[in-house]
Amino acid sequence: MQTYPKKRLEAFVEMPVLHRFTKLLEAEGVTGYSVMPVVSGSGSDGDWSREGSVTGAGQMVAVVCILSEETLEPLLDKAFAMLSRHMGIVSVCDCEVLRPDRF
């Protein structure tokens, strides 16, 4: 089956910043994204776990977004600017999709 190259962006962002990050995605014209839960983790700011916790502070979520290379470029700059003061990381990998018009 014919597939088309796109990009898969995966960002681990702090819960309190999530809303701003997804707003940025929308502003940059992505056609969709999904937010996935993260249970626990470790990084330069130490370990954390969501279990038992009632505050969003120090908790991460993962935002997964399939998008086109053209949309990605300008978005990365802005994501970098937004997240530079916050916890979390962004990575991008190549992927193939079935319906190119959807991204």
Partner: protein
């Protein structure tokens, strides 16, 4: 004084404190015991809803007295004022960087609802009454401290804190815990004792048991936090975590005296002033002061001040309330 020692002893051996200790110990022994996050959030929601509702019903039953406005105002002032004292002390005695100090200061100006809940539960067991509108005061005290902390940072470097926009304030003021506490208070006020009678088998009867379960969870989380950030907590910071609630408490008691609250009400305003936030403020700090380290402010608030308040603090605040209250 005999009474207060008695109360302290009783409090230390009451189920809520013991369940907190169990959680703390389990966490330190690295047990895999944990309360799922969804359940912790449900317990917290329940406590907020129950406290808010009962406070509203109390206001509906006893009416508003002249002290209502004064109490609310003094709560706001305490919340706005305490961060300056906290910030000054931290900068003077602990060498904490400016941004961390401001973030910690915001936590101590704001309040902890579960500490408030534990205090009401001790008062209820001891048969001491209190003004229902203390609940509304609690809700109002959540946010002014955040404003003070941001002022402190702005004063610092002229540079604007991250996103001190209207949007930030909307997010802070509409934090879920504030909305439930306030909303349930208003509902309790509207429906009064008749409404309470319909839901009391859910809201009143199991309250203390649910509090125990939530404190088990708080113990687990506090213990985990302490285990992970023990190295960040220098002796001066540790001392701050004990001294600051006492300072806040004394201010709260003084305010209660000025306002003329009853002994029970004074104990609660004292407790509010002495307690430190662990839900709304940490989330707000991640937005407003992202450079401040959560490991510092969460460890201080949850790992030191909360256990201190739960065990020794509350009896002290009840004593202070007794002295200050009419």
């Amino acid at each position: 004084m005999g009474d207060i020692l008695n109360l302290a002893g009783t409090n230390l051996l009451a189920p809520p404190v013991l369940f907190f200790a169990l959680g703390f110990a389990a966490s330190f022994a690295r047990s895999d015991l944990e309360v799922p996050q969804a359940v912790a959030k449900a317990l917290s929601l329940y406590l907020l809803l129950a406290i808010g509702f009962k406070g509203g019903v109390a206001v509906a039953s006893h009416g508003i007295d002249a002290r209502l406005a004064a109490t609310l105002a003094s709560g706001v002032i305490l919340s706005a004022l305490i961060p300056f004292i906290a910030f000054g002390s931290l900068r003077a005695f602990t060498g904490l960087p400016r941004v961390d100090a401001a973030a910690v200061a915001a936590h101590y100006g704001s309040i902890s609802v579960v500490t408030f809940a534990a205090a009401t539960s001790v008062l209820t067991s001891a048969g001491i009454d209190y003004e229902g509108y203390l609940v509304a005061t609690a809700a109002l005290m959540e946010t002014p401290a955040i404003m003070s902390a941001l002022l402190l940072m702005r004063g610092a470097n002229g540079k604007e804190a991250n996103g001190t926009s209207g949007e930030l304030w909307r997010e802070i003021a509409l934090n879920g815990s504030i909305v439930v506490l306030t909303g349930a208070f208003v509902i309790g006020w509207i429906t009064g004792p008749k409404g309470l009678a319909e839901v009391s088998a859910f809201i009143v009867d199991p309250f203390k048991g649910v509090l125990c379960l939530f404190l088990l969870d708080m113990g687990l989380v506090a213990g985990r936090g302490m285990r992970q950030s023990a190295r960040d907590l220098t002796p001066p910071l540790f001392a701050f975590g004990i001294a600051m609630p006492l300072i806040g408490g004394v201010l709260g008691a003084f305010a209660s005296y000025l306002v003329g609250l009853s002994p029970g009400g004074a104990a609660l305003l004292t407790t509010l002033a002495a307690s430190a936030s662990y839900i709304a403020v940490p989330a707000a700090m991640r937005l407003a002061l992202p450079e401040a380290r959560p490991s510092i402010y969460l460890s201080l608030s949850l790992g030191i001040t909360f256990p201190f308040n739960l065990t020794l603090g509350i009896p002290i605040y009840i004593l202070l309330g007794n002295i200050a209250g009419g």
